[in-house]
Symmetry: C2
Subunit: 222 residues, 2 copies
């Protein structure tokens, strides 16, 4: 399976919301649960996707759209697992936009897909301002980034449906005040679903998988 690369350059924004609604309609019709994954660079977006493919890939038909400023290393990794993947290169753009996703959807077998991960560009600032057509907005906060991130990037934490606290295996070696972190997060976003986990050790992963499988079934049932 070869990786498709779409070079979109820096697009003028335009009717992003409109295009996102069209994407959503198309994905709803195909019964595909779609998750927009956002985080800082290196927080573990690709690792979460890879672990989830390995755990659920035989039960759930997964496809992936990879967004990056440059390179196709992430799509290559996903592709090596036998999963359909489209790479979007934004050529310097800070975030994915709905129109880029529309093009990427053309390259995916939606009628054979239950779950679509859209890995956004690594950026805690603009990504959350652009709807892509997703059902779920998921952000990953990496524990080594520190407990003050919700104070410094409040919009991202406030807008997410799910927050994953990643790399919890490093907790013994960090000065991460989990209580302070959760206090601010709950203040910004009282209804958010939170999964602390480590893709490396597997700790906390089962709760994420279980929740995700239920969401996929729920979407199929609609």
């Amino acid at each position: 399976m070869s990786v498709k690369i779409i070079n979109v350059g820096e697009q003028i924004l335009g009717a992003n919301e409109e295009k996102a609604k069209e994407n959503k309609k198309r994905l709803d019709k195909a019964g595909v649960l779609t998750i927009n994954i956002m985080s800082s660079p290196g927080a573990g977006k690709t690792s979460l996707i890879m672990s989830t493919i390995k755990a659920l890939g035989k039960k759930v038909r997964i496809a992936v759209i990879e967004g990056d400023v440059a390179s196709s290393v992430d799509a290559d990794k996903v592709n090596a697992l036998g999963i359909p993947a489209v790479q979007i290169n934004t050529a310097g753009g800070c975030h994915l936009e709905a129109g880029m996703v529309t093009k990427a959807l053309d390259g995916l077998p939606l009628d054979k897909t239950d779950l679509l991960f859209i890995e956004n560009v690594g950026n805690l600032i603009c990504t959350n301002s652009y709807a892509l057509g997703e059902d779920i907005r998921l952000m990953i906060a990496s524990m080594p980034e520190g407990d003050d991130k919700p104070i410094k990037y409040p919009a991202m934490f406030a807008d997410s449906d799910v927050i994953i606290i990643s790399k919890i295996d490093l907790q013994p070696y960090l000065d991460f005040n989990e209580k302070a972190f959760l206090n601010v997060v709950n203040g910004l976003n009282p209804d958010v679903t939170i999964f602390p986990l480590s893709c490396k050790t597997g700790k906390g992963m089962d709760a994420w998988y279980k929740w995700l499988e239920a969401e996929v079934k729920n979407k199929k049932g609609k």
Copy 2:
């Protein structure tokens, strides 16, 4: 000493380069070595500044401009050390611009400053496109972010004068291939100066302080 907060909102770009040159001229005249510090969120920009203030603050007169999407937590921390600090809040903007720095400079005692740190917004994508008037462009790559960041964010690594590899105390617990990382960095930027260090354990800090003191003296001598 109270923290000054400048709310700039989302500005239209305009003549950034021109304003950066004006800032540079003003800082050159005052003999202030100016370092633009860029990184992902949570890579350790504020920690580097705080450690450097503690180590050199009695020998070198330091001032700080803090750039953040929201909050003044960083400027508050710096201010608590008795160091002049101005907070710029970009209100959602992804990067600092030269015009924001011009305003911030008005709030600092440049004639009593040897070294100015400008802590940019936590973002590996756009920040390097906007000159601020600095002498040195410094980026921090946090080891927990992974060794593939130079491939994924090449512009930032190619454009920096100095790269700090931070949080090296975590190396035993990470799968970070330092050789692979350095190979790509050297390919992108053969002349870059690299300091691997840990603000937590102090490892590698002396080389950074020594280099920095020499740069400050060099600037004063001009």
